[in-house]
């Protein structure tokens, strides 16, 4: 049990931190006000990542990766989040699509897609959730009909980050009905679809940002060779993608919590409440929570590096992270008093926006209720409750 970076990790962290800090001085818009600007930043950041050679940290060298343990990806993401770096526009290609294709793809698929992820030619989004299939992801209803030379897909997707910029989509659709297969987990197929014919509309969130999109698929044609894994076996492939989702991303989320805590401390000081015993105790409690997220993520990442399968601790971190983000942002708004519920001052506006945005934390990537059920079932061995 060692929480210290190895010499190699420390060197990597130092190099990454230096590069991030340096590159951030050249970011086109430091405080993007709207979604379009954020997209510009994300694209620009992706280019910088590609040029700097920071993509595919865990990927095999054969595909242009650095072939480093997952902890390095975590380190890079943590150092990025700590410095409020933009999110690369092809984050999902790097973290989800690429690794899933590496596991389940044919050689032809690997050769076609992987280089284009690293060089920035392709941008990926994830077409899993549907309006009627959120917590119950396997209840999805998008339908792929067999036609000459491939499939035609109809359906609707929601919560697809980056879809407005993407040209590729990890797309789940039914190639058999539940009635035919006898199980909602069977008969789903995982497609590597192009987005040209998909109608993408931004989904505005309660803070006014459009971090997500809706996708409408109306007779979208997908060629023969775009099935990832076996036909009808897409649920298993999707589980691979989902396991990557809880991987190195966790470092970024706990670093985000650390950064929010830092800002909260500044706000308390600015409000002249640093000596208030009550606020001190509340900050102390939150700080313990924030620290516990980072440390648990480190344990989890180390376990992954040892080849252990992701466990329920991922759900625990996700659950506690959402609660902690919400508690911190709520406190920040509350401490502002009357001004705290206005958005004139930059700091007040930022906290109001963050407070509202944090409400999504207990929904996106699996609701609190789903995380609790996962922990109850997979960690505690309690019976299935859904």
């Amino acid at each position: 049990m060692d929480f210290r970076d190895t010499a190699e990790e420390a060197a990597f962290r130092k190099e990454a931190a230096g590069w991030i800090a340096d590159t951030l001085t050249r970011v086109p818009h430091q405080h993007p006000a709207d979604h379009a600007e954020k997209t510009v930043n994300s694209r620009w950041w992706q280019e910088q990542l590609a040029e700097g050679g920071w993509l595919g940290i865990t990927w095999p060298k054969a595909y242009g990766g650095k072939e480093l343990p997952i902890a390095y990806e975590g380190i890079f993401n943590a150092e990025s989040a700590r410095r409020h770096a933009p999110v690369g526009i092809n984050m999902l290609g790097i973290l989800l699509a690429g690794p899933t294709i590496l596991v389940h793809g044919t050689q032809a698929q690997r050769d076609r897609y992987l280089p284009r992820i690293l060089n920035g030619d392709d941008i990926w989004c994830q077409g899993f959730s549907e309006p009627g299939a959120g917590s119950d992801l396997a209840g999805l209803r998008s339908r792929a009909e067999r036609v000459d030379g491939g499939w035609v897909v109809n359906g609707q997707k929601v919560w697809t980050s980056f879809a407005h910029a993407a040209n590729r989509c990890m797309l789940l659709a039914r190639t058999s009905t539940t009635e035919e297969t006898g199980s909602k987990h069977k008969g789903i197929t995982y497609f590597l679809a192009d987005t040209d014919d998909i109608d993408v509309r931004p989904l505005v969130m309660i803070n006014g940002d459009a971090d997500f999109n809706e996708m409408f698929l109306d007779d979208v044609h997908v060629p023969e060779d775009r099935v990832l894994g076996e036909l009808g076996d897409g649920w298993r492939v999707a589980l691979t993608t989902l396991s990557f989702e809880r991987g190195s991303l966790a470092f970024a989320t706990s670093a985000e919590a650390e950064a929010a805590l830092e800002r909260l401390i500044v706000r308390v000081r600015d409000a002249g409440l640093a000596d208030d015993a009550d606020v001190q105790r509340e900050i102390g409690r939150l700080a313990a929570d924030v620290r516990s997220l980072s440390l648990t993520t480190m344990r989890q990442m180390s376990a992954l590096s040892h080849g252990n399968a992701p466990g329920g601790d991922g759900s625990a971190v996700k659950l506690a992270w959402a609660q902690t983000m919400q508690a911190m942002t709520r406190l920040a708004v509350s401490l502002g008093g009357d001004a705290g519920v206005t958005t004139d001052a930059v700091d007040d506006a930022a906290w109001v926006s963050d407070f509202l945005r944090a409400k999504g934390n207990s929904v996106e990537g699996g609701t609190d209720e789903v995380q609790r059920s996962i922990i109850a079932e997979r960690v505690l061995g309690l019976p299935r409750s859904r």
Binding site: D278, V333, S334, D338, V341, L356, K359, E369
Partner: protein
């Protein structure tokens, strides 16, 4: 003891409920940048003019509890209207023994100012200002508007003319009355948030069942309802105790402010969570409740301050 709403009060609640029926639609209008709609504000001023003010003072009679009943219904649909602010200001003035005749004239839009930013500043004609225990009524000359999180209530700074009337004492009692009404409105907001979530939980299906079947969903709404219902008892009592000049009036107002603010925010948060993904979208209603709950909790000092104040009084009093 007869701690139930009278038949008249139940009828009042129903009348207010009818007027507030368009609240969420109107709130959406303000959220999308529109002005506060003319209705139901006009109907509120017409129908409930002088409510809670003695007839001898030119009012229509009734109690602070009657006003709380209306405030709760307005909170329940996040109804955008300066009517509540007007009542807060009038009640503060009444508590200080100040003549409020001018405030009962058509077009009068009074607001309450305790030093910071003022709610419903956009349409204010007069401000009741309270400094320490002093109270004054002054015309509004100019308004600088701020951007509010809850766009159903404008927030701003006022430039005031010379006071038309002042009172050396009664200001604190006035603010107590106002805070009791804010607490009542918060109870409505909490209740409304739960009601919307019930609607969703009985329609939305996942895993082949309506989600209200899952205790993970239903129990959080039950917990939220419990807090809101108990807060409503405190709000009613705070109104009653301040109007009666009861010995525990200050504690009653602190208790109501504390629990109503916490309960409304908690209910708005639980209501949003129960909505799942749709609940965090701009087009869905849950954030209207959340914005209102957070903003009203900050109105005249919120739950945090009230908890501290109540505890301090009990421990050092």
């Amino acid at each position: 003891m007869d701690a139930v709403l009278t038949e008249e009060q139940q009828a009042l609640a129903e009348a207010a409920q009818a007027l507030a029926a368009s609240g969420l639609v109107d709130a959406r209008t303000t959220l999308d940048g529109g002005d506060v709609p003319a209705r139901p504000t006009e109907d509120l001023f017409d129908g409930f003019n002088g409510l809670g003010i003695d007839e001898q003072d030119g009012g229509a009679g009734g109690s602070l509890i009657d006003l709380a009943i209306v405030a709760r219904e307005l909170g329940r649909t996040v109804c955008p209207t300066p009517w509540v602010s007007h009542q807060l200001a009038l009640q503060a003035a009444v508590a200080a023994g100040v003549d409020v005749g001018e405030g009962l004239s058509p077009g009068a839009r009074w607001v309450l100012s305790t030093g910071g930013l003022v709610r419903d500043a956009a349409t204010a004609t007069h401000a009741v200002t309270v400094t320490g225990d002093e109270l004054a009524v002054a015309p509004v000359l100019d308004v600088t508007l701020h951007a509010p999180m809850d766009r159903t209530r404008s927030i701003g700074e006022l430039t005031l003319g010379a006071p038309s009337v002042t009172a050396a004492t009664g200001g604190r009692a006035g603010v107590s009355r106002a805070r009791a009404l804010v607490a009542a409105g918060l109870c409505g907001t909490g209740l409304g948030a739960i009601e919307r979530a019930i609607g969703h939980a009985t329609q939305r299906e996942q895993f082949g069942k309506v989600i209200g079947v899952f205790q993970g969903v239903s129990h959080q709404l039950a917990e939220a309802w419990t807090h809101v219902e108990l807060a409503w008892s405190l709000a009613l009592y705070a109104c009653w105790a301040t109007e009666e000049g009861a010995g525990d009036a200050a504690a009653a107002v602190d208790a109501a402010t504390a629990k109503a603010g916490n309960a409304a925010i908690y209910a708005a948060e639980r209501g949003m969570q129960v909505h799942g993904g749709i609940g965090i979208t701009w087009e869905a209603d849950p954030h209207l409740f959340l914005r209102r709950a957070m903003a009203d909790d900050a109105w005249l000092g919120g739950a945090r301050e009230a908890e501290r104040s109540l505890g301090q009084a009990l421990l050092t009093g």
